[in-house]
């Protein structure tokens, strides 16, 4: 019997259980009412239905989930016990290749065998598969019936079916909320584990403070010393994400927020705010393509025109400019929020003293909102340094320690993509280096976010 058929059958059983238990509860409640014991009825009939349906489905479902993981092993064992399996080679690799092939033919995933030895095993496989398939299906159905029958006998007017069902609902909600923690732990554990393996091959000091990055040479067998110095990557990341992008994003974002909150008419604000927010909604791969196709060649031509040496068609400036534009809405909405949080009385006081609007903004509102703006900028920086596609497509791969914005630099995220999308074995220092870079990126963005939220929170309290 196939998996979907069993699931369909179980679902049908669950539905029958629901209907019959509900009918029974309804009838019993009617009897109880007729005999004058109104208060003896606890739950609505539907809850009895759910109670029995869940008892039918959950034990059988858990059993099937376990069975799906256990039965392949049992099938293989019974095939190996077959006389036809005695001639299998002892070498583990070719042995499992033959077994896999026989299995594929038996399930119909493959038409014929490349290895003749597999043919002999097809028949034992087929019998074992159907054997264990039937066994699993029968056991699941028995469990479903047993669970349903047990629950069905408990359906009585004074049985607290609702309490039981609600307890399960609460457990489900609690488990769902645990997924966030599990994900965080998964990220931390996987990054730490792979980084640990990397640092057992490469000295952490060399990694954090070395200035030469050439994982290719390490992969070619020149040794790991001097190949994994990540400083050029850190510099490229800071240069693009924290310097060039911010030079674009801070003035534009801040001034946009000021104009839209303080000067613009409600109509202009209503239309321009969503328009600017569209900048944050454009996928980064589109920005990357735009930077690589339009901005970068234009900048290179410009650099050549004014006579700058080392101008590359993949420049830090192109990636940084486009990234800055992408960040504008983040800076602007954070600035918007913190300016709006400044008490009206402060700007009223300033205006009443005769200050112009711009004087009020630059000498009262901005200083008062500064912590919020700084927090917003920190969040924007953390966003910018974690950004991947723009720099992958526009910033280049050369690990340069340079101040020239027209030269090519590389970033942490670019290198992670570069290191992990080739066809190398997974255990080399080269691929593991990507996880070490990921760990650094994770820690830095996390710290930036914590500091930013601290700053914003502290400042909000000052006016509340």
């Amino acid at each position: 019997m196939t998996g979907p058929a069993i699931l369909l059958l179980l679902a049908g059983l669950g539905a029958i259980a629901w209907v019959s238990a509900r009918a029974r509860a309804l009838r019993l409640a009617g009897v109880a009412r007729a005999s004058g014991r109104r208060d003896a009825v606890h739950s609505l009939p539907g809850y009895h239905g759910w109670y029995v349906a869940l008892w039918t489905l959950i034990p059988a479902g858990i059993f099937l989930a376990v069975w799906a993981n256990v039965s392949p092993g049992l099938v293989t064992q019974s095939v190996l016990a077959d006389p036809a399996a005695q001639s299998l080679p002892m070498d583990g690799f070719s042995r499992s290749a033959i077994l896999g092939e026989a299995r594929a033919i038996a399930t119909g995933a493959q038409a014929g065998a490349f290895n003749p030895a597999a043919n002999a095993l097809v028949e034992p496989y087929r019998t074992a598969l159907s054997h264990y398939g039937i066994a699993g299906a029968v056991l699941a159905l028995v469990l479903a019936f047993a669970g349903g029958a047990y629950a069905f006998t408990r359906v009585r007017p004074d049985f607290r079916a609702r309490t039981r069902v609600e307890r399960l609902v609460m457990a489900t909600l609690l488990i769902a909320s645990l997924i966030a923690i599990i994900t965080t732990l998964g990220i931390v554990a996987s990054l730490l584990w792979e980084s640990f393996r990397f640092f057992s091959m490469v000295n952490p000091i060399d990694f954090l403070f070395g200035t030469k990055w050439s994982p290719q040479s390490a992969a070619m067998g020149y040794g790991n010393e001097d190949a994994f110095g990540a400083v050029p990557l850190f510099w490229g990341t800071i240069f693009i994400g924290a310097i060039i992008a911010m030079i674009v994003a801070i003035p534009l974002g801040l001034m946009s927020a000021i104009y839209l909150t303080q000067y613009a008419s409600p109509t202009v604000r209503k239309w321009m705010k969503p328009t600017l927010e569209m900048l944050a909604g454009v996928p980064t791969v589109v920005y990357g393509y735009f930077a690589a196709l339009t901005i970068a060649p234009a900048l290179r031509d410009f650099a050549v025109m004014i006579g700058i040496h080392g101008a590359s068609s993949e420049s830090a400036l192109a990636a940084g400019l486009v990234m800055g534009v992408m960040i504008i809405p983040f800076v602007s909405s954070m600035a918007d929020d913190s300016i709006a949080a400044v008490p009206q009385s402060m700007s009223d006081g300033s205006l009443a003293m005769g200050a112009t609007t711009s004087e009020t903004i630059s000498r009262v509102l901005i200083p008062a909102a500064l912590p919020g703006v700084v927090g917003g900028v920190l969040l924007a920086v953390s966003r910018a340094i974690g950004e991947t596609m723009i720099v992958v497509m526009a910033a280049g791969l050369a690990a340069n320690l340079t101040l020239n914005p027209f030269a090519s630099v590389t970033t942490v995220t670019t290198q992670i993509v570069q290191l992990l999308t080739g066809d190398q074995e997974f255990d080399s220092a080269k691929t593991l280096a990507a996880f070490a870079l990921g760990l650094v990126l994770f820690i830095v963005t996390l710290l930036l976010n914590i500091v930013a939220l601290r700053v914003v929170k502290k400042y909000r309290e000052a006016y509340e």
Binding site: A180, T284, V286, Y289, E359, L441, N449
Partner: protein, 414 residues
Amino acid sequence: MSAERLPTDWKSDAMRKRIARRYAAERRFKAAGMAAVLLSAAFLAFLLFTMVGNGMRGFTRTEIALKVDFPASPLLLDPANITDEALANANLPMVTSTVAQKALGKDADAMISPSAWIAIRDAIKADPKILARTETIDVPAATAIDLAAKSKGSPEAEAQVARLRQAGLLATGINWGFLTASDGTDPTQVGIWGAFKGSLLTMLVTLVLSFPIGVATALYLEEYARKSWWTDIIEVSINNLAAVPSIIFGLLGLSIFLNLLHLPRSAALVGGMTLALMTMPVIVIAGRNAIKSVPPSIRDAALGIGASPVQVVFQHVLPLALPGILTGTIIGMARALGETAPLLMIGMRAFIATPPGGIVDPATVLPVQIFLWSDEVSKGFVEKTSAAIIVLLAFLLAMNGLAIYLRNKFEKRW
């Protein structure tokens, strides 16, 4: 008696100058603000116009009117018996090449697309009677001709285009293949259907996983959990997950889903799972805000007439909060739809020429397809990349529009 300070003489020259200077500064400041807004908007407009300008050409193709004299051609087909098998055995590619050389000259093979025979096959299939006469069939042009006709190509191609134009043989048709075909090596033949289907499957997995988990988490945190160190940990992890760079989720997917659980590489299943982890915090945060905005009086009223806490939430709070939750979900899904980096990490950058049949088949998604095409050397891919970007942006716009519509239609002020 001390001398009283004279009132400020607002009419004095010095004062007037000072006020004029202050007002000028005010105007400059305002102009700077306006310039910032306009510059940002102009950049957006520039980006969209560049993409649309490049991309519109990707939806069209250049066609050459090829005169086919069927009776005189070396085609051996019985008009009464046109089956797929007969057409497959008729060696149409060779026949097409011969016919084209007769009609267009010696360099015809360089002018028509290698798949031009498909157009002839379809024409015969549509009307077998044309086998008895001479018929003009529009066949797709080769990439070089296509480029030269639309913008600028190599000198030879330009010359050929000039010749074809003079003969009145060139036309521009809509490239339906772009919407129905999948990835390929020849830019005139590629399409986005495979990537689009991959995106749909991935989004389906993401939605099925992240929506229930996100809503359940939001309900638990907002309605049931008492504030404790435990809920603090949950809250902190959700806020952190919302701020973690997307590529880190890709690293998680690679090391846990692929290397530990051995799920299939570059499949929509793994992509969807990875993106679900990214989307879930967005849904939780939006969901909590929506649930928070349901007034407590509704809960009190329901509790007052005897509803249990679970009934209060599932029968009253959740239906009222649902529009807000859905808005947040759509925005989260739109973000996931445009995401590229984590999917590169789990191997979705392979060349895949057939649309995926299910969630465990190798697949690619729209943004990754854009990334792959942008790396292609052939110039014909530029317009295809931009055209794919237009499709992606149109989808994102539609999703965000739906979110705004939902918000405006169902938003309640209590």
